[in-house]
């Protein structure tokens, strides 16, 4: 059987962002996938030389358009560690709440894209309808819809007062109800199941060896969630990482569906325990030293390496994003699959290309 090479991307209907895969196919079966990245490289890491470390939070937030808040938060955590800044507990809790809101909207976005990817248009619309409500909460509490802009070195910029918190929780109850409806379709509907079950099975050992992170690893049975490190307020909240043993596309969908409700629960816990007091501390001086901060993004673990030399500009800044860590697993999954399954498999790693390339 002759082999053919089919380019998948960088412009492809299922891809919100450009990544390219050269698919070597025999008949309808993929035998090899060669990934190419680098279409949206923006050189953000180099920008540390131009922007001072306070300003750089705005750049860090723009590393990714979906998990923006957690990028800013991770960057702040790294700089705060270097400088020995003690962030007030209230700021930690607010960061937790916003981080979980951002996970909610990211997962709802992904569920919509997945539904779109397998041709379930109405489900896609409904996922995004619910996501819109989350975005409204975010806009009301932070001022931005996807770029929150509230995290700063030393704390947060905005507070959520009691009235706003009550309204947030009331809206969250409605959102939870809406989410139950759509998650029910994702997890119970036979047409969805037949499209996802058994597609792209990644064994637990492979997931471990290929260094998978986030929902991708948890769907293969690895109990790995950076929130267990207890950064921000996660150390004081109770939660268990959601895992599935199957390792197929359906498991990855189910893990993210489970995390929606986990996030709602975490927001409720954080809101109930929200301490009173300051939301920021004054930060003086310049950082000197290095630190690698790790947090859990909707897509998995992100690592921020920050090196400072005592001037207002950082010396080195490096980000290892979750999608980058999951690409080897994708390349492992694709050989042997049907050509028609490629879009689903690419989507199930929740590719976020602009943060992969920074």
């Amino acid at each position: 059987m002759a082999r053919t090479v089919i380019p998948f991307g960088p412009q492809h209907p299922v891809l919100p962002e450009p990544i390219m895969l050269d698919l070597v196919v025999e008949d309808e079966k993929v035998v090899e996938a060669i990934p190419k990245i680098g279409f949206v490289h923006r050189g953000l890491e180099k920008l540390v030389e131009k922007k001072d470390f306070h300003e750089f939070v705005f750049v860090a937030e723009r590393v990714c358009g979906i998990c923006s808040f957690i990028h800013g938060q991770t960057y702040c955590q790294a700089v705060e560690q270097i400088m020995g800044v003690a962030v007030p507990p209230r700021a930690h809790y607010l960061r937790t709440i916003w981080g979980e809101l951002s996970r909610l909207h990211s997962h709802l976005l992904w569920l919509g894209l997945l539904a779109d990817g397998f041709g379930f248009e109405s489900l896609f619309m409904h996922s995004w309808r619910v996501r819109e409500k989350v975005l409204n909460i975010i806009e009301a509490t932070t001022g931005g819809r996807v770029i929150f802009g509230t995290c700063k070195v030393g704390g947060v910029r905005r507070d959520i007062d009691t009235a706003a918190m009550q309204s947030l929780l009331a809206q969250l109850a409605v959102i939870e109800k809406d989410m139950r409806e759509i998650v029910d379709v994702f997890l119970e509907d036979n047409s969805v199941k037949r499209r996802l079950c058994g597609v792209g099975v990644l064994a637990k050992d492979d997931a471990y060896q290929l260094g998978c992170v986030g929902p991708m690893a948890r769907a293969s049975g690895l109990t790995q969630d950076m929130r267990q490190l207890g950064y921000a307020a996660f150390g004081e909240l109770t939660f268990q990482p959601i895992t599935r043993p199957e390792g197929d596309s359906f498991a990855r969908c189910a893990v993210r569906c489970g995390e929606l409700f986990q996030s709602v629960d975490l927001i409720r816990q954080a809101a109930a325990r929200l301490p009173t007091g300051e939301i920021e501390v004054k930060v003086t001086g310049n950082p000197n030293g290095e630190f690698a901060a790790r947090t859990e993004q909707p897509r998995g673990e992100v690592v921020y390496y920050v090196k400072a030399n005592g001037t207002k500009n950082l010396q080195r800044f490096r980000v290892r994003t979750p999608t980058f860590a999951n690409i080897p697993a994708l390349v492992k999954l694709l050989p042997g699959c049907d050509l028609a399954d490629v879009p689903i498999l690419v989507l199930t790693i929740d590719p976020c290309i602009s943060c992969t390339e920074r």
Binding site: E55, F58, A140, G144, I182
Partner: protein, 129 residues
């Protein structure tokens, strides 16, 4: 039957109002606290340039001697860093998104000059961001 999980939802939405807002025929729902257009109050500004130095995108230009304050709307990302930094509270973010910026011109505001002793020099351009 598990094949028709969507049907219930579809029927419910078939008889409910659309979730979307028919903008521009219906007004935009404004969320209080949203970060929108940057507004400038030239009466309180002292042209200290703090906002120009803080702005992460270099959208603001200030000329202290000519009392000019300028903004490049295409560059402004409505982050609010200048609002925080301004010692005179001359800047604010409104919830409106303003009219779309279609040119790269800067919006220039001229403060009132103290009347007599200003020498009639040729106006120099506002320094870039």
């Amino acid at each position: 039957m598990a094949y028709f999980r969507m049907t219930q939802m579809a029927l419910k939405w078939a008889i409910s109002k659309p979730a979307t807002n028919p903008y521009p025929f219906a007004p935009r729902v404004i969320i209080p606290g949203s970060r929108g257009l940057l507004t400038f109050n030239k009466d309180t500004c002292v042209y200290c340039s703090v906002c120009r130095k803080k702005c992460p995108t270099g959208a603001i230009g200030v000329n202290r001697h000519q009392k000019k304050w300028a903004i490049d709307r295409l560059r402004c990302i409505s982050c609010g860093y200048c609002v925080e930094a301004c010692p005179k509270d001359s800047l604010a973010l409104s919830t409106s998104h303003g009219s779309p910026a279609v040119t790269k011109d800067r919006e220039i505001y001229q403060g009132e000059m103290p009347a007599p002793k200003a020498p009639a020099a040729a106006p120099a351009p506002v320094p870039a961001g």
